[in-house]
């Protein structure tokens, strides 16, 4: 079997998803025999942006250098996978969108002179075509491993789009909303995280992103009322959605 040529890039992000890439290869060491990595600055010293089968990109796009890099990556990769919520939706740094950029930068960095960011925080697919989206903050390493195995074998995953609640019920996890009366974003959040938070008795905070193929503005408003009654303020909900679903929130349709 020919090795799958992989490159892993990091844009604006916390690197937590890169850790998941490394963990997933530790859990599935056999993968290493079937992939060759040409770019992964966190893992190796020699890196070059070469032609690859799949480019895995972590992080959101926040300046023109990153846009250029991403375009180059797209040109040289047969497939591009957006890794983690930052790459898929923008991620936590989207919280600064709409705020005064200078104030935000000054509040965060002692030497703001080195920070070059645009006012917007872009998801990967708003800059280049993306073939796979693996959301999560951090990404579920098992989902990534499953995808890599299938890519090595010459195929791909068959996507199934459903909300987190399906996953909870299949696992028999007691419902945080109905049994505990706690706010949970599970009903409007895309599944495949393994229902991690509800399995520890806490509400989902939506890190896999809003189920925007189903939830339009009207339904989101209805849902907001429900979580508000459960004790989550509108501001908190807005913050969570902005932090984990920025890109899809701004595309949300009003009809449907």
């Amino acid at each position: 079997m020919r090795k799958l040529r992989v490159a892993v890039f990091k844009l604006t992000s916390c690197s937590g998803c890169l850790n998941e890439v490394i963990y997933s290869m530790m859990v599935h060491p056999e993968l290493l025999r079937y992939v060759s990595i040409s770019y992964f600055t966190e893992l190796q010293d020699l890196n070059a942006v070469e032609e690859v089968d799949v480019a895995i990109v972590e992080g959101s796009v926040v300046n023109s250098e990153q846009e250029e890099l991403v375009r180059l990556v797209r040109e040289r990769a047969k497939l591009v996978a957006a890794l983690g919520t930052c790459a898929v939706f923008g991620g936590v740094q989207s919280l600064r969108v709409g705020e005064d950029l200078r104030t935000t930068v000054l509040a965060s960095y002692p030497n703001p002179d080195f920070i070059r960011v645009s006012p917007d925080v872009k998801s990967l697919d708003s800059v280049v075509r993306v073939d796979y989206r693996l959301p999560g903050c951090p990404v579920n390493g098992e989902s990534l491993a499953r995808l890599l195995v299938k890519l090595v074998l010459g195929g791909t995953e068959t996507p199934i789009h459903e909300s987190l609640c399906s996953e909870c019920k299949r696992k028999g996890i007691p419902c945080v909303v109905v049994l505990r009366k706690e706010p949970c974003l599970g009903p409007v959040t895309v599944a495949d995280c393994g229902a991690l938070c509800p399995s520890f008795g806490r509400g989902c905070y939506g890190c896999h992103g809003l189920n925007a193929l189903v939830v339009d503005k009207g339904r989101l408003e209805e849902f907001s009322r429900v979580v508000e009654r459960l004790g989550m303020s509108r501001d908190d909900l807005r913050a969570l959605l902005k932090a984990f679903s920025h890109a899809s929130l701004s595309r949300l349709s009003s009809a449907g």
Partner: protein, 275 residues
């Protein structure tokens, strides 16, 4: 307890034919496989990737029967098959499933076939059936359209279709093309151009659902009865045997009660968008 219903048999791809861009016909040889009737489908399994429901477009009997499956690379499994499976490779196969065309019930009738795009695949065994049992059927009409000439299936057989005695065979493409001398427009337009004896005609239609609805309504206008017009429907078919529930259309399981239905049976359901 036997849990074999969903187990595939091991099939071997003996030949792959390029039909059209992203469309290939896979000839799969398999031992001890029930004979499919025209319009039935098989479920092909690409190891580790998943299954896909594909109609049988031709059947050659023998100790090891060979069945032809015309596959368009459009989803994850079909893309895999298109990219990775060639002659000599294995594919899992189970079937044949579903209710096919009721061609035997209509011996003595004029047969009209209307196909659109890849929809010709499940109709192909009907053409063979009429051609081989020519004296058992009346007038034969085949209307087949595709987007472009290159998208037509079984181009290597089209001349043969034209040689079927007492037949009319018309082709159409959607938009003008330099190499095309035939009709340009929808295949359903051709329905207006052929002679029909409505009382003695049975119609078999397969193509995109919109095209099938237009074709069926036109045929009704031309005087055919809704229970003499048959369509082969597509839905999300997963198990093929009516237990996964994915393919429901109203109260029908398309895999088990279909894929072939009389227009009369499905007209009320098809009339409601998204039912």
């Amino acid at each position: 307890m036997a849990l074999g219903r969903l187990l595939p048999k091991v099939g071997r791809v003996v030949k792959v034919v390029d039909e059209a861009p992203l469309v290939r016909t896979y000839h799969v040889e398999v031992e001890e496989f029930p004979e499919p009737s025209p319009g039935q489908f098989n479920v092909l399994y690409a190891k580790g990737m998943g299954e896909v429901v594909i109609s049988v477009s031709n059947y050659v009997a023998g100790g090891k029967s060979v069945m032809e499956h015309t596959v368009r690379a459009i989803g994850s499994v079909t893309n895999y098959i298109y990219a990775k499976i060639g002659a000599g490779d294995q594919l899992g196969i189970r079937g044949p499933y579903g209710k096919g065309w009721p061609i035997r019930e209509f011996e003595g009738y004029d047969v009209l076939i209307v196909g659109g795009g890849i929809g010709l695949a499940p109709l192909r065994p009907l053409i063979k059936c009429v051609s081989e049992g020519r004296d058992r059927y009346g007038r034969f009409t085949l209307l087949y359209g595709a987007r472009r000439p290159v998208d037509m299936l079984y181009k290597y057989e089209h001349e043969e279709y034209g040689r079927i005695p007492d037949s009319t065979v018309l082709f159409s493409i959607d938009a003008p093309h330099p190499s095309w001398r035939g009709y340009v427009g929808f295949v359903t337009d051709l329905i207006d151009k052929v002679k029909l004896e409505p009382a003695n005609t049975v119609a078999f239609v397969c193509g995109p659902e919109v095209m099938m609805k237009v074709a069926s309504d036109k045929l009704l206008k031309r005087g055919l009865k809704a229970d003499r017009v048959f369509l082969s429907l597509e839905r999300r078919c997963r198990c093929g045997v009516g237990i996964c529930g994915s393919c429901q259309l109203g109260h029908y399981f398309v895999c088990k009660d279909g894929p072939v239905f009389s227009y009369q049976d499905v007209k009320p359901y098809l009339a409601v968008r998204g039912l």
